[in-house]
Assembly symmetry: C2
Homo-oligomer: 474 residues x 2
């Protein structure tokens, strides 16, 4: 692979070829040996670590506690919740042998952990004093996939799964919303991705949930990426796993539950949405390297100057690399860091050192700026903040420019045939049968309900409540 | 389980009963539904997160980069390195079905990841410019175990596995030592555990390694815990996975490799070594809660005082909890935090508030001290440092007091029959046949070679080089 590096195709020529080539060139990931598996290389994993930290800090702030449940789930656990097992059965990997012997009961590798976690909750929860439980785990899960694409759809992926139990439905609903608010904030402030948040339709909700909140991002292909979801599980799992508690009046009630997750799929959205013909463009807050300093030639004084500058920037909490390798040409280095999407580049030559002035180049929009060395550290921190905001603003404009309000099914169909696809906003009444027919005709499905206003259903012509986003999806 | 909480037996009466009961009472973990699996509860996982951070910071400081390789390894990969597959074959969990179909090639859940990682290294490494590779991953692994014990021996466990590739053998050996130095430092400075570091015998080394460095801790049972290992893999894997590079002179060479790991097993050692008849005793640096503040009664002014104190301590970077629950009695609370091993306890009543003086109780040795409120924050931070050091010192003294120098096999045998077992220090020449016979007769095996001095072999009577620690092990 390293021996046969391809050139990066134009993003607009072939998005999927561009995507897979870029992932290779930027050293983000490669395919693993078993079907649909992926190796996350250090540069890709460093992005994930930054996202993890942003989320984990917010979880802990809210009182969520991390723990860890086993990878292997007895098949009988999954079978307890009917719609849950129907949803996941086709995607399971099954362990039949352990320690050289055939197992009495087959174990499945977790596709998600509701069943094994709620079996424990039934012991953890006895009284109202034990509630709420706010639990989270960072782990790997596995869902056998037919068509795979690095990050976006892999059999095994990494994620966090939050699981909570509450005394009242109201409290559970608030937690479900808090989780989605947290995802939305992290997607905006870290991933620089703007998306629609709303409720899933009956056909698209999570297997076993009463309602599913989702955040949907628009990719350059015009397709939607379901980035993260948060579920109100009602008492569905509580009843089958007998998670009940004695309330203050001595009565026995089932708990109300939520679950919610964000995965390495989010890195796929990040790459697709922000990259350009020259490579990645990383938002500063998720960039493993925020500033790269490249001396124009390898000379003692330039290197010293570069490393002092790096130290000053690092002391200010910035992530900086000096590229002073003596086995790569200058032009090769510039290209390498461009492909890797480092937000700011500083080139250091004799002139810069003499004039005590530095030129920074922004990866995001290519803008160059000359800054004095004395105020450099603070100015650069400001520039990174500005880039972060501009990238989010651009994402918002892209989504809004590609959301078409449509009132009739004919318009809807031509929007889905258009070369510039995107989101379609309609009034609609949730109806699985209608949704199946729309999907068959247009490949589009509802993405989420973003409002409850009254309007004319684009499919039936009736007056209904419910404003929806539709789109084709990954 | 929560409904049938047992009393904690005396540690000296039945260590294993004490251990499993304590794990339940302190809310550290519980058994999972499948054989040998464990659920790590939030209080137990928080200890692991603190250990992870200590290690991860040191790894990154040294230039080690994190990434992630797939959970499932094709059986054919494991079979490439003969001694490796022989070592792990009896412990494998095998996935035979995926997505509803029988797989063409069975996949195993990683028992360790040398094979799948080095298959990638063969592509990552082309030239001397690509070296060294310093890679690490935090993940779950699975080894089917017959006898299991929470943390100490579970089928699935969490760990980090470091994997490196180098241009020279010397550099690999230095890295192997650096990894073990790092483990030793973290065990001493965080776990407050003193242990012996040295090389494993031919029989005890890692399957596929040239040499294995180990750190061995002594448990109160008199048995050794092999806590972490670091391997010089030589070119064994490089040759079978063809990890080679073009050196500066244009010649082609195989890389030299190391691997090293530390797992959740370490938490088992922590519990066993430090706990007492009243519960856990956590070293401050790994304590999720370092100080618990308990108002003696629930009253507005006491709570306010307690929370202000907590804020001041937290502002100084300390981990503090105020237990102001109104649904538990004061005595119950004291017992709860004692069992959980919180290093310092502060009780707040009217008198404390009026006198502006606070009494802290040390969990480690029960010592009480009255400190003025004004210097309290700094004084408490000092106390935590002191406790951390005293716990390590106690561990060191325990190990030294239970290491018996022995020169003859008869003495060796009676030491292993003694009610106060422990480590035995001997001169010995590494010999797998002799080791097997010693094990059969005494249940003891070599733990590690701690020196190369000359002496009389306790088994053969010959003059040999090599000072060794022997002991029975978990």
């Amino acid at each position: 692979m390293a021996t046969e590096k391809k050139l990066l195709p134009k993003k607009t020529d072939s998005l999927s070829d561009w995507y897979t080539t870029l992932i290779q060139l930027a050293d983000l990931a490669e395919y693993g040996p078993s079907k649909g598996s992926m190796i996350i290389k250090p540069y890709g994993y460093a992005i994930w670590e930054l996202a993890q930290k942003a989320l984990d800090d917010r979880f802990k702030q809210h009182g969520v506690q991390n723990g860890y449940f086993p990878l292997l789930i007895p098949m009988s656990f999954l079978e307890k919740e009917k719609s849950h097992v129907e949803g996941f059965a086709p995607e399971l990997a099954v362990v039949t042998h352990g320690g050289g012997e055939k197992l009495e009961e087959s174990l499945v590798i977790r596709p998600t952990s509701e069943t094994i976690i709620y079996d424990s909750f039934s012991r953890w929860v006895q009284s109202w004093r034990d509630l709420p439980i706010l639990f989270n785990q960072w782990c790997n899960v596995l869902r056998w996939e037919k068509r795979t694409m690095p990050f976006l759809r892999t059999s095994e992926f990494l994620w966090q799964e939050g699981h909570t139990a509450h005394a009242t439905h109201q409290e559970a609903i608030e937690l479900q919303k808090w989780a989605m608010d947290t995802y939305k904030a992290v997607y905006e402030d870290y991933y620089a991705l703007y998306g629609y948040v709303g409720y899933k339709s009956l056909s698209e909700r999570f297997a076993g949930a009463d309602t599913t909140l989702t955040i949907e991002h628009l990719m350059p292909s015009g397709k939607a990426l379901q980035s993260s979801t948060s579920h109100d599980l009602g008492q569905n799992f509580a009843k089958v796993f007998n998670v009940s508690f004695q309330d203050k009046d001595g009565g026995e009630s089932f708990v109300w539950q939520t679950s919610w997750g964000l995965s390495t799929r989010s890195i796929g959205g990040l790459i697709l949405a922000h990259g350009d013909d020259n490579g990645l463009r990383l938002p500063p807050r998720l960039a493993p390297v925020q500033i790269v300093i490249v001396p124009v030639l390898i000379a003692e004084d330039l290197n010293q100057y570069a490393h002092q500058l790096a130290k000053d920037l690092q002391a200010n909490g910035l992530r900086v690399t000096v590229d002073d390798r003596d086995d790569e040409r200058f032009g090769f280095k510039l290209n390498k860091w461009e492909v890797k999407g480092v937000p700011l580049r500083v080139e250091i030559g004799k002139r810069e050192v003499e004039n005590n002035q530095l030129t920074v180049v922004r990866r995001w929009d290519g803008r160059k700026e000359t800054l004095g060395r004395d105020q450099f550290v603070q100015e650069v921190a400001d520039r990174l903040d500005t880039i972060q905001k501009e990238m989010l603003e651009a994402s918002k404009q892209f989504v809004q420019a590609h959301t078409k309000k449509v009132s009739k099914y004919d318009e809807f169909k031509s929007a889905m045939r258009a070369s510039e696809k995107g989101f379609v906003e309609v009034f609609w009444e949730d109806n699985p049968e209608a949704e199946a027919k729309i999907k068959e005709a247009t490949k589009a499905t509802s993405r989420c309900r973003i409002g409850d206003e009254e309007g004319v259903d684009f499919y039936t012509g009736k007056t209904v409540r419910g404003r929806w986003i539709f789109g084709q999806s990954y």
